[in-house]
Symmetry: C2
Subunit: 361 residues, 2 copies
Amino acid sequence: VPATTPAEGSVALAVVPGDGIGPEVTAEALKVLEVAAPAGVKFEQTRYDLGAERYLATQEVLPDSVLAEIREHDAILLGAVGGKPNDPNLPPGILERGLLLRLRFELDHYVNLRPSRIYPGAVSPLSADVLGKGEVDFVVVREGTEGPYTGNGGALRTGTPAEVATEVSVNTAYGVERVIRDAFARAQRRPRKKLTLVHKTNVLVNAGSLWWRLFEQVAAEHPDVTTDYCHIDAVMIFLATDPQRFDVIVTDNLFGDIVTDLAAAITGGIGLAASGNVNPDRTAPSMFEPVHGSAPDIAGRQVADPTAAILSGALLLDHLGHPEAAARIEAAVIDDLAARTAGEKRSTPQVGDAIAARVAG
Amino acid sequence: VPATTPAEGSVALAVVPGDGIGPEVTAEALKVLEVAAPAGVKFEQTRYDLGAERYLATQEVLPDSVLAEIREHDAILLGAVGGKPNDPNLPPGILERGLLLRLRFELDHYVNLRPSRIYPGAVSPLSADVLGKGEVDFVVVREGTEGPYTGNGGALRTGTPAEVATEVSVNTAYGVERVIRDAFARAQRRPRKKLTLVHKTNVLVNAGSLWWRLFEQVAAEHPDVTTDYCHIDAVMIFLATDPQRFDVIVTDNLFGDIVTDLAAAITGGIGLAASGNVNPDRTAPSMFEPVHGSAPDIAGRQVADPTAAILSGALLLDHLGHPEAAARIEAAVIDDLAARTAGEKRSTPQVGDAIAARVAG
Ligand SMILES: CC(C)[C@H](C(=O)O)[C@@H](O)C(=O)O
Ligand SMILES: CC(C)[C@H](C(=O)O)[C@@H](O)C(=O)O
C-alpha cells in the first residue's frame, strides 16, 4: 500500500475534538504526535467543531461544505462525539449516523482497525489463570462501510400497536472481499500469521455464505496464513477464557463493534483502546479515534485517560508511513503503563506530558 | 400465568437427545427430573431422533408430522443438535434454521430465558477484584421469534463478484411488547426489581426506536421496577467488569445470543448454562435445553458436564408449576459445585448420580 503523503513536509490534519472529554484527550494526542513526528514532518491542523454542542446550538450535524473540506486533508484525528444520555433535544442516532458513520461511509473507511493488546501493567478484569496462559495481542479488522450499519430498513405504522420496524444488513462481494483481503495482508505481516473469521453463518445464512465463500477464496491465495472460523457467540467465550488464541480477527460492522468493546474491556479498558477508520486505497483521508465515547459525566475535569487517543495518534502515524514514530509512541505508552501505580490520580495533561516526555527522551 | 398441566398426574415430555454429547447430558437431566418430580407427577417420555445424524442418514430435518406430534406434549427437553464442524454434507444453518429455530418459531417460544448466576465454587474467568464486588445473579430475557433470526433477506447474483446478500431484522410492536412485558413481570418478582434494555438504538434507529418506545411505555405501568438502558457494546464492558449491575436484561434475538454466551462464560462456562425457550401463553409446549452445543469432539466418552442440561430440567419443572422441585435441583447443583475439587474428573453419569442423590437426600 503506497503512502500518498510525503515522508517529509507538512501533513494536513483535520482535528475534530468533539464533545465531553473529546477535546481533553485530543489535546494530549496532538501533544504526543508533535513530539513523535519524524524530523521534517509538520502537522498543519484545521479544527472542526462538530458534535452534540454544535448540533444543539445550530441544528447542524455535518454540513456538506465541511465534509468537502475535511476530505482534502491527509488524515483526521477525532476525539469523541455525543451529548448527555437521553437528552430530548438529541434524537438517538443523530450524531452517530449523521456525523461518525457518515464520515466512515463517505470517506470509505472500510477497514476499522482495532488493536487489542494486554500491556504489562494494564488492569484486566480477567483472572490470573486466564492471563497466565500467555500474551494477549490481536487486532480486529472490522468492516466499516456496510452490514447492519447501512441505515437500510425502515418502519411502518410507527407509534402504533401494528408497527413493524426493520434493519437490513447489506453485504456485497465487493465490500466483503476487500476487507477480507486487507485482513489477510495484515495477518501475513504478523509473526503468528493467523486469521479468524467471525460471523454467525449458522443463522445469518445469506450474509454468512458470502463471508464464508470469500474468506475461503482469499485464503487459498494465502497458504502461509492459518485460518479459523468462530461464531460470534463462541467468540464471547473465547475472549473471556482464551483470548490468546486470536491473532487477527475479521468480521462485519456490527459484530466488530461488539467484539472490540469486549476486547477493549479485557485488555484493560476503553481508556486504552485505539482505533483507525482506514481507507486502505487512500482515496480519502483515514480517521483515528479512541474507542471510548465522550463520557459527559467526567467531562471538563481533566480526569479522563488520554492513552487511547494517544495510541490512536500512533495508528495515524503508522498509516501515514511512519511506523518507527508509531512504535515510539506505543513503547512510551507501555513504559508509562508499567510505571503506573494502583490508585494514582494523574490529570489528563499529566498523563499526556509523561508519555510525551518518554517519546522525546 | 396459569399452568395448563396438572399438579399431579402424567406430564407428556418430548425428549430430543440430539447429537454428540446431547444424548449423554439428556440422560442425566432425565435422571434428576425423575428424582425431583413432586409425588404423583410422572413423566411420560416420547423420544424423537432429530439432528445431524438423522439428517445425514435420511435428509430429514423436522418432518411436519413429527412437529405435529411434538406440539401435543406438555414440554420438550432437548440435548444439543449439530454435526462435525464443516461437514460438507451439512450445509451451514440446515439444522439450526430447520430444527432448532423452527421449533422456537413454530411453538412461539418468544421468551428465551437464560439465568446467569455465579454459583459458589464455579470457576469464573473474571478476576478476584471483579468478583469481589458482590454476587452475580441476573437473568437474560432474549426475544426468540423475530429480529435478525427471521430468515428474511436473501442473496442476488450468488457466487459472483457482484453478489449482494441481505439479512433483515424484523421487529414488530406485537413481538417486542410481549417480551418486554414478560421481562417486567420477571423483574417484578425479583428482590432488586431492575430491568435493563439492551440494544443499539444509536445505530439501528428503526428497530431501536420501537424497542425504546415500548420499553418506556411498559415501564410506566411498572413504577416499582427500576429501568436502565445499555448499548450492546457497552454491555460487553459491564459484563466483564461489573456484572453485578444486572438483574434482568431484555434484548433482541441476536443481541441475546451474544450476551448470553458471554454471561455463560463469566458465570463459569457453558457447562453450567441452562435455557428455556418459553411460550408464556402456553399455546404450545416450551422447550428446555443447555446453552452449549453438541461438542462432537468429546462425544461418546461420557466426559461432558451434564449440569447445564440438569439445570434446564429445573427450568422445565418451574415452568410446569413446580417451583419447589426446581429449587431442589438448583440447590443440589449448588452443593455439588461447592464440593467439586480442582482437577477432579468425574464422568457424565457420575455427576448426574451425585446431583440426583443430593436431590433425593
Ligand atoms: C458511537 C457508535 C456509532 C460507534 C459504532 O457503533 O461504531 C462506536 O460504538 C464505535 O465502536 O466506534
Ligand atoms: C445454534 C444456534 C442456532 C443458537 C442460536 O443462535 O440461538 C445457539 O447459539 C443458542 O444460543 O441457542
